[in-house]
């Protein structure tokens, strides 16, 4: 769960003397929103986001007739003038959980990852974290999701896992979440099987309530007074 496994390592970077049009084109070409600014020796000195570029550019609606002249002026604007210098960074030994909490707390879209000497090692963005979570959930593998309501007390997960394991079914992942009903939790095993009927029956026979997606659907229907 360390971020150096999930971050993007081949980072597209720019130097501080690059002009704004080149920076914009680089982002468009690679479909990215963050460009770390580095010195020739790889030390990170700033970051440019697509929002920085947009606010540094004139409006697309203004000066439509005078585009070439505007572009000439823009070419004189270098990244060093509008980048965020000394951005918040994290180290490769940070965990995915660290990155999630930090991205939420600092309200940024990505963190450059640097080593102790300040050299850029990678970048971790919200997209990288989404990819990491698709892996964790294992939803790229064939399987199906169950929702099981359990008492909020020790040992419930073991019972569920044991019951499913006895049926020789592999787990893609298991999520546990709070449930709106007090004293209950919801367990969501993602099971790598198509052979689900007997497992549902077994869990019901053990006294568990299976969360029925139909309940959600019924909630959406218009209510007649």
């Amino acid at each position: 769960m360390f971020i150096d496994r999930s971050m993007t390592k081949n980072v597209i970077t720019i130097g501080k003397d690059t002009n704004i049009l080149e920076a914009r084109d680089l982002m468009q070409e690679h479909h990215i929103r963050h460009l770390p600014v580095v010195e020739p020796d790889g030390v990170l000195i700033g970051i440019v986001t697509d929002r920085d570029i947009r606010s540094a550019m004139p409006s697309t609606l203004q000066d439509e007739l005078n585009c070439d002249a505007v572009d000439d002026k823009l070419r004189e604007i270098t990244v060093g003038r509008f980048m965020t210098p000394d951005p918040m960074t994290i180290q490769p030994a940070y965990t995915i959980q660290d990155a999630l909490l930090l991205i939420q707390d600092k309200k940024v879209g990505a963190f450059p990852v640097v080593d102790e000497a300040g050299k850029l090692k990678g970048i971790i963005s919200i997209r990288d974290l989404i990819r990491a979570f698709i892996n964790v959930l294992n939803i790229g593998e064939p399987g199906m999701l169950l929702g099981i309501l359990v008492e909020d007390k020790v040992g419930q997960l073991k019972r569920v896992v044991d019951a499913i394991t006895e049926e020789k079914v592999s787990f893609g992942s298991v999520l546990v979440s709070r449930h709106w009903e007090e004293g209950k939790r919801a367990v969501f095993p993602y099971l790598l099987t198509n052979n689900i009927a007997r497992i549902k029956k077994k869990l019901r026979d053990m006294g568990y309530t299976l969360l029925d997606p139909m309940d959600w659907y019924l909630d959406q229907l218009p209510k007649h007074e």
Binding site: E141, T193, N194
Partner: protein, 316 residues
């Protein structure tokens, strides 16, 4: 009455999946029983299975996978790739007979010996990927048939309709980049059902962009939603595509009494679906349609469902 073919072979019962497995030989016995008890057998052209030539299977599956599957069987292994895929020593031969029987059926239609056909085969096929067995499926029966029709008989556009309650991931992936085979599937929403693919935004890729169409249906929904969604999605798609031959991946597991899913179709709805497919076949494909059995696990309901299905195919 139409000249309807019926592929069934007792050797399809030899693929054993062990006790407590839903994809059991009893399913096929129930299917046959439904047709026999209704007195339909004399009206049908019986087709007997022959093993497929491997060269046709290689049009879809990687040679390494074919050999790996055969070897696993010869060694007496009891599963392939996932524990779902329980097997016995006869599984490989049975799977060859399933594909071979359907290819024979396709040939009879192209030679104008029959008009259409229902193929009661095991093992099913629509989850089988190019190099992987999945969801009780080993060879992708329908996909191999589509390739056979194209290459042996010059059919240019094959339309596949998959109304098994599970998404046919294998079939979709095999034809994802191919604009000559249209894959349409209606199934329980992948966030709630196996295999977790077949979302609305999966529409094919590159040259095949727009030649895959998925209609996911939420758990608990039934006839009314299927009716609306098939009219909304399938009908315009085939009007656009103009298939010259239709292959149906036929599953009965969306039935309300089938406990493999939470979709609640009535018995009558399956008849309606098949009437729609027959209408499409008449309109675009000179009536040429092969229905190939995929899932459907309610031993109580299968005889009636399959009888109705075949009766629709026989009706002009």
């Amino acid at each position: 009455m139409r000249r309807t073919g019926f592929l069934y072979d007792e050797r399809y019962l030899l693929h054993c999946t062990g006790s407590c497995h839903p994809e059991s030989p009893e399913r096929l016995k129930a299917a046959y029983q439904g047709i026999e008890d209704a007195g339909l057998l004399p009206e049908l052209t019986r087709i007997h299975a022959v093993p497929a030539q491997q060269r046709w299977i290689e049009k879809v599956h990687h040679i390494n996978y074919i050999l790996r599957f055969e070897e696993a069987c010869l060694l007496g292994m009891d599963e392939l790739d996932y524990p779902d895929n329980q097997m016995c020593r006869e599984t490989y031969d049975t799977a060859m007979l399933a594909v071979g029987g359907i290819l024979e059926t396709a040939k009879m239609i192209m030679e104008d010996k029959i008009d259409n056909a229902f193929c009661a085969v095991r093992p099913p096929g629509h989850h089988a990927e190019v190099n992987k067995a999945m969801g009780f499926c080993y060879f992708n029966n329908v996909a191999v048939t589509a390739r056979y029709l194209q290459e042996a008989w010059g059919i240019e556009r094959v339309g596949i309709v998959d109304f098994d309650v599970h998404h046919g991931n294998g079939t979709q992936h095999i034809f994802e980049y191919d604009p000559t085979v249209f894959y349409y599937s209606i199934h329980e929403h992948p966030s709630f059902a196996f295999p977790g693919t077949g979302r609305e935004f999966e529409k094919g890729a590159d040259a095949g962009q727009g030649y895959t169409l998925n209609t996911p249906v939420l758990p608990g929904q039934g006839d009314r939603e299927y009716l609306d969604l098939i009219k909304r999605d399938l009908l315009p798609a085939f009007e656009f595509f103009q298939p010259e031959f239709i292959l149906a991946s036929t599953g009965f597991d969306a039935h309300a009494e089938d406990d493999m899913s939470d979709i609640k179709l009535s018995t009558e709805m399956f008849t309606w679906i098949m009437k729609v497919l027959m209408g499409l076949a008449d309109k675009y494909a000179k009536g040429r349609i092969i229905s190939v059995l995929e899932g459907g696990y309610s031993i109580q309901r299968l005889p009636e469902l399959i009888k109705n299905h075949v009766e629709v195919m026989m009706t002009p």
